[in-house]
């Protein structure tokens, strides 16, 4: 009997601990008391019905099992969610979670909570440090003021998307260099198919070409320095060469007919019909066209072509992610961290890739159909940069109001290469003079 008395307390304690652990998984956060129910507000930039939204609801079902007393109130605000955040903050109703693109840390910056400590803890379903489970390239876009303020959940790169089967049919290979791209385009156009697709009416879709040629020829840091510094001449011959390369694509009619008046999703639809071969765009494309992709259409992507003699890193790719952020004044952060951990567990990431065909931000995950080359491109790349060389985030006004209209004029054929560079130089200096 005395033996039982000695064994019983540790046994009961172990059973209780086991029960608690079984209920809470690896969560270190205790549930609210029985009488209390917590509500967390979540302002999301997805809309209802989108794959991401449906996936998040599955994550939420799991979260409710772990924290049954915690209710998350999702506001599916769509892409303009920040326009809703402004009045919410003004009314003192700060949501705990805000989701958004990589521009968000640059707006909210010091208003965001740092994940540094949380990222040092264990991941939900492995012994790895939570931070180490993510692709390393994604953290640059989530860092603000020296701390990590966002949890990346939807990683993207930009590349040239094409239909593998169409390329086989046309007898061409995916181009790796600029010269190969021009040669490929000549072959494709000779077959009566437009080589490149561009929805010019979408802001900045055209500028991807120019910024990436500039990156290849001049290099990310140097190009950023000149573009963002008053009085810096566009002296390097690479500026003129990059602009002339854009002109060449336009002059040779390698973009689809009437591209300057084309609005999204016209180019994608033309590609589906087999009327054009390649589109330089973000990794969202296969997911976006999932329901419209014909059976004989097999997406693949390649890195932006290398330019021989260019000073920039020729394997560089723009990498960014949509992320979740926590407002520093938002209540109940600890439960939200649990939600993020569940969402970024292998189980739910597998679901994201396989069922919802979206790329995962974690290391070692397979890529969804259409993006199978993504891990290889990332693996090979010796440099990853922010979109638009980072200009969009660090100098948004300069990017939007000064450079964007001039790039539009270049693509519209209103400026030739040398006039364009002169106008860029003058406009930038005027902008700084008026600050």
């Amino acid at each position: 009997m005395s033996n039982y008395k000695n064994i019983l307390p540790p046994v009961i304690a172990s059973l209780l601990a086991g029960l608690i652990l079984a209920r809470c998984g690896p969560s270190t956060v205790e549930d609210p008391t029985a009488a209390e129910t917590i509500t967390i507000q979540w302002l999301d930039f997805m809309s209802e019905g989108e794959p991401w939204q449906r996936w998040q609801m599955e994550v939420y079902d799991e979260f409710k099992k772990v924290h049954p007393k915690v209710k998350i109130e999702f506001i599916w605000a769509g892409r303009d969610n920040l326009t809703k955040l402004q009045p919410m903050i003004a009314a003192g109703q700060v949501p705990t979670v805000i989701s958004g693109g990589p521009e968000l840390p640059y707006h909210l910056g010091s208003e965001l909570w740092s994940f540094d400590a949380a990222l040092e803890t264990k991941a939900w379903d492995s012994d790895e440090k939570w931070k180490d489970t993510f692709l390393d390239q994604l953290w640059a876009g989530e860092t603000f003021g020296g701390g990590i303020v966002g949890i990346p959940h939807a990683p993207y790169i930009r590349g040239l998307f094409y239909n593998k089967n169409q390329f086989i049919q046309l007898g061409v290979n995916p181009p790796k260099t600029w010269d190969e791209l021009l040669a490929t385009c000549a072959t494709i156009e000779a077959e009566g198919v437009d080589c490149l697709g561009l929805d010019n009416l979408e802001p900045d879709y055209n500028s991807w070409w120019w910024y990436w040629l500039v990156q290849r020829l001049i290099g990310t840091e140097e190009a950023f320095r000149v573009l963002s510094t008053a009085g810096e001449p566009f002296a390097d011959s690479g500026w003129l060469q990059a602009t002339q390369m854009v002109e060449e694509l336009i002059d040779k009619s390698y973009f689809q007919d009437g591209f300057s008046g084309s609005g999204w999703p016209a180019a994608q639809m033309l590609q589906m019909r087999g009327d054009l071969a390649m589109i330089f765009t973000g990794a969202w494309l296969p997911g976006e066209m999932l329901d419209s992709t014909p059976e004989n259409f097999e997406y693949d992507l390649i890195r932006f072509p290398a330019v021989e003699g260019g000073k920039g890193e020729q394997t560089a790719v723009p990498v960014w992610a949509n992320a979740w952020f926590i407002h520093k004044d938002g209540p109940h952060k600890e439960y939200v961290v649990d939600y993020f951990k569940i969402a970024t567990s292998r189980k739910f990431q597998q679901l994201l890739v396989e069922k919802y065909k979206q790329p995962s931000p974690l290391k070692g995950m397979s890529a969804p159909a259409g993006l199978t080359s993504l891990p290889k491109i990332l693996g090979e790349s010796k440099e990853t940069t922010l979109q638009y060389l980072g200009l969009l985030y660090k100098h948004p006004e300069l990017f939007i109001q000064v450079y964007r209209p001039l790039i539009d004029q270049l693509f519209g054929g209103y400026l030739n290469a040398s006039d364009f560079l002169e106008a860029m130089d003058k406009a930038r200096d005027n902008y700084y003079a008026n600050q």
Partner: protein
């Protein structure tokens, strides 16, 4: 003492005489109060508060509001995109207004004359007005698409393929193309308003003019237009306000591009104040554009109403 007593007496009598009126006013005011309070709270206060915000440099995401006085307004004077947007609004007001009202008057006369098929035509021409701005914009975007578009398709089909254009990609054609969409969308309303005005004119007036040998053109210019002048004034004011408030159709069709060639004040305000997901959130500056827009709508309405304050002809 006597004069003082007399003055008091007059005052007293005045008060007594006007008491029912004052009581009536008070009574009416009490009934107006429930409507006035929300109006003050939801319209007047925000308008004043908007002016207050326009005096600050503020993103809207935090409490760091930096007072800049009238700097946001001063900056607008040198802001080429703002001036271009304002120019587009003015083109819409005057150019678009002239086209819209002329066409609406023409169609209204056709309809009220009872021409063959006029009822069908009335339905067709008013139908677009029932659609939302976004739906109209998407429809027009497809009509004007260089590859799939109906317009280029029709031009090609009738052998005029040399006239096909990337309509929204051409800096000179893009805004007129959008304006055409706006007129197509709104014309039904104006036709209905003007037709209602024409229908109240006694037919004897036209009959008498015809007996006297007046032509269709003369009856229109000398009888119809003068007799519906007040209706035309209302229609013009309505158009001015709508042309100044343009937003949805422009935003969906071009987002102000290409190269800012189609911005109107509404889209530029949105772009500056709410950032279009790309990094610019200047709520103070955006609000300054809003205040200018408000002032324009207000002043245009007042000026136009005064200019067109010709007394409606009784008949």
């Amino acid at each position: 003492m006597a004069p003082k007593a007399t003055r008091t007496g007059i005052g007293e009598r005045w008060r007594q005489a006007t008491a029912p009126k004052r009581r009536q006013r008070l009574f009416v005011s009490l009934f107006l109060l429930p409507a006035l309070v929300p109006y003050l709270a939801l319209y007047i206060y925000p308008a004043i508060h908007a002016f207050y915000i326009s005096l600050f440099d503020w993103s809207g995401f935090n409490k760091d509001m930096r007072f800049v006085g009238l700097a946001n307004y001063e900056r607008l004077l040198h802001d080429a995109i703002f001036l271009e947007a304002l120019k587009h609004n003015m083109i819409a007001v005057f150019g678009g207004g002239a086209v819209m009202l002329s066409l609406a008057l023409f169609f209204a006369i056709l309809i009220t004359k009872g021409a063959r098929g006029s009822r069908f035509f009335k339905t067709v021409i008013t139908a677009p007005f029932l659609l939302s701005g976004v739906a109209v914009a998407i429809f027009w975007k497809f009509v004007l698409d260089p590859q799939f578009g109906l317009l280029n398709g029709v031009l090609t089909a009738v052998g005029l393929d040399n006239l096909t254009q990337p309509w929204l990609g051409d800096r000179d054609l893009a805004f007129p193309a959008i304006l055409a969409g706006v007129i197509w969308w709104w014309i039904g309303l104006f036709v209905l308003i003007i037709a209602a005005g024409i229908q109240r004119i006694p037919t004897q007036l036209w009959d008498a003019a015809k007996v006297d040998g007046a032509t269709e053109w003369q009856t229109t210019v000398r009888i119809t237009i003068p007799l519906i002048w007040d209706v035309l004034a209302v229609a013009a004011v309505l158009w001015i306000i709508d042309a100044l408030r343009l937003f949805d159709i422009v935003w969906v069709m071009t987002k102000g591009g290409p190269g800012n060639s189609t911005h109107v004040l509404g889209t530029y305000l949105y772009s500056v104040g709410f950032g279009e997901r790309s990094g610019l959130y200047q709520l103070g500056r955006g609000t300054a554009i809003g205040v200018v827009l408000f002032a324009l709508v207000f002043v245009s309405s007042v000026v136009y109403l005064r200019l067109t304050r010709r007394k409606a002809i009784e008949y």
